[in-house]
């Protein structure tokens, strides 16, 4: 168990007596990696688009070009 950062015990997997490891992320996605992929992809894409928009705005431009 890490001694720093998130003390919350829900983040790190807990090993119960029989050694079986449970994790809430697994409970959600264990059987559906493609879904996780799509969700993460969409989230990352939105984050990146937000980054693009913010940087262009800081330069006094819009994200899309309007001639």
């Amino acid at each position: 168990m890490p001694k720093f950062g998130l003390q919350s015990t829900i983040w790190w997997p807990r090993r119960n007596e029989s050694g079986y490891v449970q994790h809430w992320v697994d409970l959600l996605m264990m059987n559906n990696a493609p879904l996780l992929f799509v969700i993460t992809l969409v989230v990352c894409a939105l984050v990146f688009l937000g980054l693009d928009f913010a940087v262009m705005k800081l330069n006094g431009l819009s994200l899309f070009y309007h001639p």
Binding site: H23, A33, L36, F37, T40, C44, V47
Partner: protein, 633 residues
Amino acid sequence: MTRKNKNFGSQSIPLRPRDGICGLYASSSRLSYSLSVVVLAILLLGVSTGVFVGAGDTVAEASGSAADGLAAAVIAPPELTAADYPTIAGVNGRVTVWLVAQLHLWFAAFVLAVPIFVFIIEAIGMRTRDKRYDEMAYEFIKISITAYSLTAILGGLLLFSLIVFYPHLFQYLSGVFGESMFYYALLFFAESAALYLYYYGWQWLQGGFRKWVHLTLGLLLNAAGTTLMFLANGWVTFMMSPAGVDPAGVFAGDTWAAMHNYLWNPINLHRFIANIAYGGSIVGAYAAFRFLSATRPEERAHYDWMGYNANFIAILALLPLPFAGYYLAAEIYAYSQQMGITLMGGIFAWLFIIQAVLIGTLFLSANYYLWCGMGRSDGAQRYNKFIKYLAIVIIASFLVWFTPHTLVLTNEELKVLGGPYHKYLGPLGIMPAKNTAVNIMILFTALSFLFYRRSNRIATVAWVKAGNTAQLALYTAGIANLLFLGVYHGYFTNTVYKVAASIPQVMTTLIVIVVSLGLDSAMYRGAREVAPLNWGRVPNRAQYALFLLAVAFTWLMGLMGYIRSGIRQHWHVTDVFRDNSLDAYTPTLGYAANVVSVGTILFMAMVIFIFWLSQVSSRKTPTEGFGNQAEGR
């Protein structure tokens, strides 16, 4: 005699026999060596003071105020003719200054870089209590000691060459920067003191508080070295983008204003990062050489590990380097659009195609070393099937980067082609394509490293699948964003958008690398080793990849040094002090490449000499009958 380390590590460290370069200096020349550097520093002091005063005198005369001894010296650039440039029969002043300056810079980059990563490695050693890091740091600093003296010698030679071949220019520059030259010389005392204490006191300043003192010395060494570089950068960037002078070149008296010119900080940043990458590659070449000449398996293992670390340092600094370079070029454009266009759209444009070849070489050899290195562990066989795709993408990106835009054609060829651009490959020649390509090369290099990291381990956390999926999605989104920014903003908008879009591209790459590395280290926490990492089990050709890294880096630095200087064309100081020597013309790229090649060979020869010294000093020749200590006396 042993010294117990109270806090750092549990083994005692014997004072080992003086092997390596250390022994060479321990014997007799330690004092004379330090003296020579001190003498050089005094010389610098004397020259800078003398010329400063001399500049004041002569210019005061020129301005007609000789009678009034209290008049302030007017420092203005003179109008020179070809006759004002002294000649020495058979010696081309320009090539001399060029070669000496470049040699000095190569060595200076090396001796500035090594303390940076040695400091960091020592700190890591203190944090992890792993003795190997401390020993490796010590070995790295050992290599740079001889290089330090060569740097000083070449610096002195550069100074003399400038004074001999370009006296008026030096007079003007020392008039502007005399004060800073004085501090520069004084700082050498500080740097030498810090370096020698840091190096010679390594075994003495061990344990507890002493180790912290030692680390602080390392910090002071880096501070002095970095300040020295920043001062020298000010002089060189003043020549490119002068400040603190009026349009006629008359100095207003504020040295800080002249130093703090437009291109100062971009060059500071670029050189700082590039030095680290360069230092790593030279140290890697040293390790590669020692690996190849190693006889015992422990030696092989040790130098293999050292080479890996050096390559890691080189790649770590190599990743952000293109961005620092782009920032520098953008600032050149912002300072003077003409200078910028000459740089990338005019006569120097083809030079960047040569640069592309070299950077492609760097990335390919660094990646190749990583891929070869994966063979150290049998567990890497799981990932072998992915490597070819990494190779294909990196090579494809390199080819895009290497594609020129405007082709130099004869009239008939122009008619046949219908213009100066290739119909399909032409669009790959402009910057958006190249920015995208380099970002992808960097991303995939980081991916190579991710594969390497896990080659001997298997993750034991429960969320492995989720973690891998997330990483894959992160990379996919990152690449998609890079392509969107590169293609849409690059080809469907105007110049202003095109340039601005490169910033989110950089940030995307850096974010993807940092997040995926973070995710990876979380995922592999407590990982199980699948097959041991056999240090030393790496093919010899991997060591040649390290040599290639060092050679290509050196050549590239020489080429970029030429660009930085050549961009001034027929100006000593842009727009202010005209170069009227016979050598003021801009040479062809082939000629410049030849000079750089000669310089690289000279530098490599000197470096090989340094590496050889490190082996020589550990050799002992048994003498029989020479000494007086015969048996029985």
